[in-house]
Symmetry: C2
Subunit: 337 residues, 2 copies
């Protein structure tokens, strides 16, 4: 199971099939909003935006918004625009990340910055963020705006935290979880929390949906980190070892470094801190991780957060939406197998 | 009169002295909000943000928000946070612009990207934009949020328009005005419009403040463009000829190209479209512009927009705030002398 699933195939996937069939009609409207709001008289904007948007991301985050709204019995229209806003925030982050990481590839295609330059990636990202806020304002819920504006600031804070820690092998597991809680989990949390807010549900349900999103987001990122040292280029939609080459300290590295010998630590310092990487180093890195069970244990940690996500939903009575959201947790973790 | 005025000197400037004394107390609160909201446990965020924020920009845009609110008799508190939001939106744009333009200098100092890297400039810009929206949400006026979210999207659209047109000497004056209407004037317009909205004033007054801001913003940018070919490094706070070296097509170039001989057009195509620039080319560019009165006429066009800005305010009865806002128009245009 790869990270990238073309939208059309999602229905046939056992893991998010239930989710997909529940939100399908609303997702059509979300997709229409996405197409409409990437439109601009400035031709480069839809070109750059659609290059990424049409490249077959799962659109998991907007589906979470729709499903959480459904879970809470919301019957209005606002969830569609908020779901599209969430996807735009995510797309803006990806465009900016590619510039920050100097990535060549994204979702198995050349990154937008390779085709249109860094400047287009920065500015089209800014445009999508502006359009996201426009849609949120149209929905008109100040509490939802508050949750999503918080997420926007926290995501950027997490990304800065990551570049600050990027070259530091002394990063602890706690440090690392703090980074991904901000850079990845904050958007999942916001995507899920706006559902009960729109539906006017009590605080406990808002908190439950938020906790579900946070823990799912952390699990999702940890699996991504594991896959970066364990998948193959075709299933990942990015080059295996990207994190390694970019000197990113992710949990598999943190665990390997702590558990390693002095010689192994020197290896991590040379490759990740000093960036002196030769051809066989990625294989050595993966072999070292396997020896210390660092990849398996990263997946094990993901299961822990997945279990917390599942428990957060226990507040809600059984429903199709609840079952679908529980399936998403399994889907996210099973990607690593 | 240079573009960069350290905050402390602003009071002694005849042009915006009236404005400064009217908004001084509120500006202290805006500055407190700015300091508080650049704070983060991630040390790099306040470092990067404050490098730019403390580098002595005029903070003209937040002063416009305060003055327009005063003009409309607003007696609440919301204008302070909105003014800080406007300054954060502006700062975020500058950080991203430096990456887009690959600038080395900003306000007479090394650009943040030269000290902390492109990635920090992109991400701290994103953080400030997130913080700006947080503050707007705290103020709680959906119509103000709408105006400012629109501006965020339009600014980015204008910047993309500019990079699309960057190397095209066939750009018309209309094309160029459309670019600066979006990338510069949209934020001035929004900064001024939120005042009457907060004060609950009639539509005609919102439109008047918006028109004032738009036309002032256009005049401001045209003078900046003229200064880029006419000032000196120390008064500009950036290197004279930056626009030329970056191949930016601004109004002085548009006018010189249209009015020029075939040989001169070949010069503009070589330098700006092909980017083949040698040492004496900047002097040749400036001499060519002088010969065609392109710099004077750019300033003349700025006067035209300045007059429209002034007329937009005629709706309002005489007041200290009105007089101060009228002075700002003169101040912006006199910078070129």
């Amino acid at each position: 199971m790869g990270v990238v699933i073309p939208l059309g195939e999602a229905a046939s996937d056992a893991g998010i099939g239930k989710l997909w069939s529940l939100v399908r009609t609303d997702m059509d409207r979300v997709n229409q909003a996405i197409v409409a709001r990437t439109g601009s008289d400035v031709a480069m904007i839809p070109e750059v935006a659609n290059h990424l948007i049409e490249s077959g991301g799962k659109r998991l985050r907007p589906m979470m918004t729709l499903a959480a709204a459904g879970l809470c019995g919301y019957s209005g229209d606002g969830h569609v625009k908020l779901a599209a806003s969430v996807e735009f925030m995510h797309t803006a982050t990806l465009l900016h990340d590619d510039v920050v990481d100097q990535s060549d590839m994204r979702r198995g295609k050349l990154a937008a910055r390779m085709l249109w330059g860094n400047e287009a990636s920065v500015l089209v990202g800014d445009f999508l963020l502006g359009q996201a806020f426009r849609m949120m304002v149209e929905v008109g819920s100040l509490p939802c705006l508050s949750v999503l504006a918080d997420a926007a600031a926290v995501i950027a804070e997490g990304e800065v935290m990551q570049i600050s820690a990027a070259k530091d092998t002394a990063t602890t597991e706690d440090d690392y979880i703090a980074v991904i809680r901000a850079k990845t989990a904050a958007l999942f949390a916001a995507a899920c929390e706006v559902g009960p807010i729109l539906a006017g549900r009590p605080k406990a349900e808002m908190a439950a949906c938020r906790a579900y999103g946070t823990n799912l987001g952390i699990a999702f990122q940890l699996i991504d980190d594991a896959l970066d040292y364990g998948g193959s280029s075709s299933t990942l939609g990015k080059n295996v070892g990207d994190d390694f080459r970019e000197g990113k300290i992710t949990l598999p590295v943190v665990l390997s470094f702590r558990r390693g010998s002095a010689e192994e630590r020197a290896f991590w310092s040379r490759t990740l801190e000093k960036g002196e990487i030769t051809d066989p180093d990625l294989d050595t890195a993966i072999a070292t991780m396997r020896r210390h069970r660092a990849i398996e244990d990263t997946i094990e940690r993901a299961r822990h957060y997945g279990a917390m996500a599942r428990d957060a939903l226990e507040l809600f009575p059984a429903s199709e939406h609840k079952a679908a959201l529980l399936d998403v947790v399994d889907f996210c973790i099973r990607r690593a197998n």
